[in-house]
């Protein structure tokens, strides 16, 4: 037992640094922020928090926020389920492609998603113009945007991948022995699914629901732009109004207490469910069946087509728009002008700084992903071994439960409490913030795999006289190398698309690709913005393809 104790000391020692960063960059700003809600003129009071909820109208807003998040989560999971069935059971050529597309959607900055949706689904978007040409009508036939269904559509687009990868991950690792036994005893395949498979993937489905709910609960610009109107007001919008327009940060903080409570509960339930999955069955994915029946072929074909249509079109629209000029002075029509400007081949004030923004993005993402992976590995090792694992997990995952508006509030408080800031400080803070933001996702990737490790190898290493550090670095970590790489890539992609924290902390001095995108939109340069968006999409895609390639190599080698 003392070996276990000492091993724990070692793991907790490794976790000190990441915890310190979490406290500095996340809990300190959060504390500053929430303090405002309860401190009225220097003394503790519940008045502001209670007041912010006494009005029926705030309750109505909270109810709407919950409703849209719930519906978004339900649809995301429903759309993902057929896909998870195919991905978990069959081996087929487009399998990796589907998983890559799914990951790509999730890490795109929401401004890019909004842009892509408007260019494709808008009233004068590609789809409507095509239909108008075909039918000869002058009015756009499809009114998709600026409604509740547009919000759901965009939320499913962004979050369905979460459900897809989470459920596929559990389902494809299930041992098929029980199903086979049931089938042998004469149960029909539907009955087998309902009574044998479903109960075992139900906790994961529930986890996926909670996670998507969490992301949609704090959604901001998608609801405002694609919803198109104030009848779709969420609690985040109210927090923003109180803070930035009414300029009453205390009231904003009081309202954010409610949003925080809901998110905190979600996360706690999620962790409860996922830690119950710790004894999951470890089966190699190579048990996947090859496709034999025509019906399965058809199903795979249809689902792949659906994914391509639904997911590729908004992204392809952005790429198309980056080649299409609408400026009379530059000539209307197809052109590579913005790309020439972007590469510095022809002069342009607006786009000249893009290469620098690109290099900034790459540096920040590479550093953030490296540190985030190292820190999350340390934390995940500790969490998977400690008796209080779920509690620490909750602490480390909390940044996921805080909305960008609330976090932004905290960051500006943090920034103003720092004495003097040059370029370096801004860059450093952005880096820290990115580490904290990507940490939960990294942990979420590592933890299930670490929990499913039997520990036999580790015990063997101890018995053979290896110290805990040596055992950890030569046995434990190498055995999950491919998962570590996955965590790294995912953090990298998330960091490269991050907007809010960068915007708040960079003080306008450090530009990254997404910030460049914002500025181009702000200065009416949509074609340029789409070119930068294209760069962002291609980079993220490249990273994922690279990951898939390396992942494949290492799992086969």
């Amino acid at each position: 037992m003392s070996m276990r104790r000492r091993a724990l000391d070692f793991y907790s020692a490794m976790s000190i640094l990441p915890l310190a960063i979490l406290i500095l960059v996340f809990f300190l700003p959060l504390y500053h922020n929430l303090k405002g809600a309860f401190l009225v003129e220097g003394s503790l009071s519940k008045r502001l928090v209670l007041e912010s909820f006494s009005s029926g109208y705030n309750r109505k807003i909270l109810l709407f926020t919950i409703r849209q998040a719930l519906l978004s989560a339900l649809f995301s999971v429903l759309v993902a389920l057929p896909g998870t069935y195919l991905l978990s059971n069959y081996r087929f050529r487009t399998r990796r492609l589907m998983l890559s597309i799914a990951n790509l959607c999730f890490v795109l900055p929401s401004i890019l998603v909004v842009l892509g949706f408007v260019i494709f689904y808008g009233n004068s978007g590609i789809l409507n113009r095509l239909l108008m040409k075909l039918s000869g009508s002058r009015e756009p036939p499809l009114k998709i945007l600026y409604s509740f269904k547009a919000i759901l559509l965009a939320h499913v687009f962004l979050n369905f991948p979460v459900a897809l990868s989470l459920i596929t991950d559990t389902w494809s690792h299930l041992s098929r022995n029980q199903e086979n036994a049931a089938l042998t005893m004469g149960a029909g395949s539907v009955r087998v699914f309902l009574t044998v498979t479903l109960p075992r993937i139900l906790p994961t489905i529930f986890s996926a629901l909670l996670l998507v709910f969490l992301f949609c609960f704090t959604s901001f610009s998608i609801i405002l732009v694609l919803g198109g109107g104030p009848e779709f007001t969420t609690i985040e919008v109210e927090i923003y109004r109180l803070n930035n327009i009414v300029m009453s940060p205390q009231k904003a903080a009081a309202l954010s207490v409610y949003s925080f409570t809901v998110n905190f509960l979600c996360l706690a339930i999620y962790i409860f469910f996922s830690s119950n999955l710790r004894n999951r069955e470890k089966v190699r994915i190579s048990r996947l069946k090859s496709v034999t029946s025509k019906r399965t072929y058809l199903a795979i074909g249809l689902y792949t087509a659906f994914m391509l249509l639904f997911f590729i079109t908004p992204l392809a629209s952005i790429i198309w728009r980056s080649f299409y000029s609408t400026s009379p002075r530059m000539g209307i029509g197809y052109t590579t002008r913005v790309y020439r400007e972007l590469l510095g081949l022809s002069a342009s004030l607006a786009l000249a700084s893009t290469p620098k923004a690109l290099s900034n993005s790459l540096v920040i993402a590479a550093l953030a992903a490296t540190f985030s992976t190292i820190f999350s590995l340390a934390l995940a090792l500790w969490i998977s071994k400690s008796r209080n694992g779920p509690l620490f997990e909750l602490v480390a995952m909390l940044p996921m439960a805080i909305s960008s508006v609330t976090l932004g509030l905290g960051y500006s408080l943090l920034r103003s409490s720092l004495p003097r800031s040059g370029n370096g400080t801004g860059l450093f803070l952005v880096l820290l913030a990115h580490i904290v933001i990507t940490l939960p996702f990294s942990i979420r990737t590592l933890l299930p795999v670490l929990r499913s490790q039997s520990g036999n190898q580790l015990r063997a290493a101890y018995t053979l006289g290896a110290g805990k550090a040596r055992a950890c670095f030569t046995v434990e970590i190498p055995s999950i190398a491919s998962t570590i790489l996955k965590a790294f890539i995912f953090s990298f992609a998330l960091s490269i698309g991050e907007v809010n924290a960068t915007l708040t902390l960079a003080e306008g001095k450090v530009s990254t690709l997404p910030l460049q995108l914002y500025r181009l939109i702000n200065s009416y340069n949509y074609q340029g913005a789409c070119a930068v968006g294209t760069l962002l999409v291609l980079m993220t895609l490249l990273v994922f393809v690279l990951c898939e390639y390396l992942f494949q190599e290492s799992s086969e080698g």
């Binding site: 405002l224 009848e231 290099s359 490296t370 500025r519 939109i521």
Partner: protein
């Protein structure tokens, strides 16, 4: 494992070289200096800061230590929160809407700049000269002349069924332009009638966007032929696209102003330097500041580029009353939300 390490190394190495190439500048050590708080857009590489600051430093020999403070509301909150500890000598970019919050906090000291005599009377909103305006814009609807629909001539016209889904409004809860539209409606319809106009207009509008950026984006992407923006917006299209397709609509009922101002901190220990900076911004710095922000310069002596002929300054301007705004803003935006949410 080795493969993993190589992959990470290959990704990181060239990038660290990039990072090393970036180095910091520090300008705070000069003998005469001042600290300037501004919003991010001013100090960013596209803002007027990078051009204006070196001009000022060269002319006066005073080093400016620029502190970028986020969006204008965050900048003001920060300045107030820091109180006596605040290191700023000048704060630049306070809009007239939030002026009253600054007055109440008592953070700015009056300054009778010799340049105020050249400033446009209508924009000199603070009689005590704590905050001095450096540029301003007039809110207006911008219209696509190729859309084939008649020009609206008033806020009331927009509620006409022929404009159904043809225009984009902006939300007063998330945007300063939206807030200005809210005041505009109060000016025109009074406190008893503004919500009624909003209900009718909101039903008729294509959307109420979250901010100017997305509103104007949807407009130029052809989603609607009319958008809430500034009278100066067409200038951009003339200058960079050589297009006069987009025009600002001038309504007889008048247009609200959005004024940006700067002020010297009461706690400033570099009063002389701060005064020199304010004088500079209100004189030589005017052209650069206004053009970059796509606003009108507050100084009436400044010569504007020809393209400003496409930025018609309305004859009737509606002034904002900061005291009334700060008293009623929370109530108005809340009533507005209740009315529009249904």
């Amino acid at each position: 494992m080795k493969r993993l390490i190589y992959a990470i190394l290959i990704l990181i190495l060239p990038l660290s070289l990039f990072a090393a190439a970036e180095n910091e500048k520090s300008s705070a050590d000069a003998e005469r200096s001042l600290t300037l708080y501004c919003y991010d857009a001013f100090s960013s590489e596209w803002g007027s800061g990078p051009t204006l600051i070196p001009l000022f430093e060269k002319k006066t020999g005073i080093a400016v230590n620029v502190v970028s403070c986020g969006e204008p509301p965050q900048m003001l909150s920060r300045t107030i929160n820091e109180g006596d500890r605040c290191s700023a000598d000048v704060v630049m970019g306070i809009n007239d809407f939030s002026a009253d919050i600054a007055y109440k906090a008592g953070i700015f000291a009056p300054y009778e700049s010799p340049e105020t005599r050249n400033l446009k009377k209508e924009v000199l909103f603070d009689s005590e000269k704590r905050l001095l305006p450096f540029d301003y814009g007039a809110l207006a609807f911008v219209y696509d002349t190729e859309s084939g629909i008649p020009e609206p001539r008033s806020l009331e016209d927009l509620t006409d069924p022929i404009y159904r889904n043809k225009f984009i409004l902006i939300d007063p809860r998330t945007s300063i332009e939206g807030l200005a539209l809210l005041f505009w409606s109060v000016e025109v319809y009074g406190e008893d009638g503004y919500l009624d106009w909003w209900k009718r207009a909101a039903d008729n509008a294509l959307i109420i966007a979250d901010g100017w950026t997305s509103a104007y984006g949807l407009f130029t992407e052809g989603e609607a032929p009319i958008v809430l923006s500034y009278t100066t917006s067409p200038v951009y299209h003339v200058l960079s696209e050589n297009s006069t397709r987009y025009r600002a609509l001038v309504f007889d009922q008048g247009h609200p102003l959005l004024i940006e101002s700067l002020g010297i901190m009461r706690t400033s220990s570099h009063r002389a330097e701060a005064e020199a900076f304010v004088d500079f911004i209100l004189s030589e710095g005017q052209y650069e500041a206004a053009i970059t922000n796509s606003m009108y310069p507050a100084n009436t002596e400044v010569e504007l580029p020809e393209a400003y002929a496409y930025a018609p300054l309305p004859e009737k301007l509606l002034e904002i009353r900061p005291e009334e705004v700060s008293r009623k803003l929370e109530r108005w935006t809340e009533e507005w939300t209740k009315a529009i949410m249904k």
